[in-house]
């Protein structure tokens, strides 16, 4: 066969989401790749300019559909900085709890999709099944399984219901056992190791140069986790370790994510203990929970009045399950944010695709892209 370009996407089993990977192949070898994004571009940054501060939260859940809480948290932190609001401590703990459950949920989703790319069929179902337990917990206190709309500028919507923490601990116990099962299915399998070792290598230098963050960077031996390096919310009070591996290949990324889930369990146990013993308010003072921080009632005829808030610019960065996400919110004192800009980790991770795909086999593309953990919702926004 001579060289040819094939389009893996936008409707292709390899693309988890809607994007297109153009691959130049010679036989089974990959010569060049060219990712094409934009099939899922909804203009969230533009729509945000037309919404009240709290209404943007509904968009954040749809930004990354497997890690909605992380994006809510990201936006909320930036908006609170732009509006000069401090949330109460219990709200911060609840946010951290949501974040970490979301990390487990997102990693389980990744696990399911990743093993499916390798042709492993039953772990796909196991991952989805166990993720459902996490979603059940979300549903218990937010009322929705995917689009939570739980955090508010200045706090969170409501407290967890009674009995929630015990239930959550049971789920954590269950998950602890499952992680062992996942390892038996993957790391215990010679075929898995044959497929994934020395695959998709992206060394630390290339990672930094191409803006690759998150588990991919930590799998390359760089110890970098914003929860440790730049603690937001209450991560400073919590004891946990940063997962890290050195091989920089697909196996290393698998190990890092698995270890992160175990660390999330550890964080969650501490947070649940704290929540049991420290009741408190959910919202900062004098903030209605539904309309947006600069309280902006409207008359029946669209007649706007506002309380003026001082101008400000907010910048926040959180360690999202996929990597490092940043938000930049400009508040010009109006009802709506003047400009909202998000930095999606997967955006950068995909942009380096040429570095870690070229030179491998066509059959290696799905596991490598699986180990990147692509979420197109947040790439295209």
């Amino acid at each position: 066969m001579s060289e040819m370009w094939i389009n893996m996407g936008p409707q292709h089993p390899m693309t988890h989401g809607l994007w297109n990977l153009r691959v130049k192949i010679d036989g089974e070898m990959v010569l060049d790749v060219d990712p094409e994004m934009g099939y899922l571009h909804r203009g969230i940054e533009k729509i945000s300019e037309d919404r009240h501060y709290n209404e943007v939260i509904t968009l954040m859940d749809r930004c990354c559909y497997v890690a909605g809480f992380a994006w809510e948290h990201l936006y909320i932190l930036a908006a609170e900085q732009a509006l000069h609001i401090r949330p109460p401590e219990r709200a911060e703990y609840l946010r951290v709890m949501s974040d970490e459950f979301q990390r487990i949920g997102s990693h389980l989703m990744w696990y399911a999709a990743f093993v499916q790319d390798l042709g492993l069929m039953s772990p796909f179902l196991y991952g989805m099944r166990d993720r459902d337990l996490v979603l059940d917990l979300f549903q218990a206190y937010t009322g929705a399984r995917l689009t939570y709309e739980y955090m508010r500028v200045g706090g969170v919507r409501n407290d967890v219901p009674p009995g929630f923490t015990d239930r959550a601990r049971k789920v954590l116990d269950w998950l602890d056992d499952r992680y062992r099962e996942y390892d038996a299915l993957c790391m215990g399998s010679t075929i898995f190791r044959e497929r994934c070792d020395d695959l998709g290598i992206l060394k630390a230098n290339d990672c930094v140069a191409h803006g690759v963050t998150g588990p991919m960077l930590r799998a390359a031996g760089v110890r970098r986790d914003l929860r440790k390096d730049r603690p937001y919310a209450v991560y400073k009070q919590i004891d946990f370790d940063v997962a890290q591996a050195d091989a920089a290949d697909v196996t290393a990324r698998y190990l890092v994510r698995m270890e992160e889930m175990r660390q999330s369990n550890r964080i969650l146990r501490q947070v649940l203990d704290w929540l049991d013993h420290h009741p408190g308010p959910m919202m900062a003072d004098n903030l209605p929970r539904w309309l947006g921080a600069p309280y902006a009632p409207i008359g029946n005829e669209g007649y706007l009045l506002k309380r003026s808030y001082p101008k400000g610019t907010g910048f926040s960065a959180v360690e999202e399950p996929h990597g490092e996400a940043c938000a930049y919110v400009v508040n010009e004192g109006a009802l709506h944010p003047y400009r909202v800009k998000f930095r999606s980790p997967v955006f950068s991770n995909i942009s380096a695709a040429r570095q870690y795909l070229v030179g491998y086999h066509v059959a290696d593309i799905p596991p490598i892209m699986g180990s990147v953990d692509v979420c197109v919702g947040e790439v295209d926004r």
């Binding site: 930094v208 910048f315 940043c326 400009r339 930095r343 950068s348």
Partner: protein
């Protein structure tokens, strides 16, 4: 690292191309510079100040002018820094950062198509999120949300 440190390090290199460094909560500071000093600033930030990681590049449309915002991360200082440069709206261009940080490539493509800021010497300035041949720049204030634009878009691959 604080704003004063940044100013001390950057002033000798940039001179009056540095407009000032203001403190910014949660970061090392916000560096305002003229676009003529972009290349020198990028190189100094990466090589001297060890901001090895370009986190994002974004554009803001202030109607009369546009602002390019760069966010950097340093693994040694474990801090973010923000660079921002104003470019006039009728002549919005600035030197690319992708020669210094390859990660700027896609971010600049995005800023180019959405906020209409052109990046000189960019290796691959193509549409990323919007279709090829799309003539509008959605994140400009003049692009109204509620008035859908009619446009015939050619497909990317023939």
């Amino acid at each position: 690292m604080e704003a004063a440190d940044l100013e001390r390090a950057l002033r000798p290199v940039l001179g009056d191309r540095l407009l000032g460094v203001e403190p910014f909560e949660g970061t090392a500071g916000r560096v305002r510079f003229r676009r003529e000093g972009a290349v020198d600033l990028f190189r100094t930030a990466r090589d001297t100040l060890l901001f090895g990681h370009l986190t994002m590049v974004g554009g803001i449309d202030w109607v009369d002018h546009r602002e390019v915002v760069y966010v950097l991360w340093s693994d040694t200082a474990r801090q973010y820094a923000i660079l921002s440069a104003d470019v006039p709206a009728d002549d919005a261009h600035i030197e690319t950062a992708s020669a210094v940080w390859p990660s700027a490539n896609w971010h600049e493509r995005e800023a180019w198509e959405l906020v209409d800021i052109s990046f000189d010497h960019h290796p691959d300035l193509r549409h990323l999120l919007t279709p090829d041949g799309y003539v509008f720049h959605p994140l400009l204030r003049s692009f109204k949300l509620h008035e859908p634009e009619e446009l015939e878009v050619k497909s990317r691959h023939v």
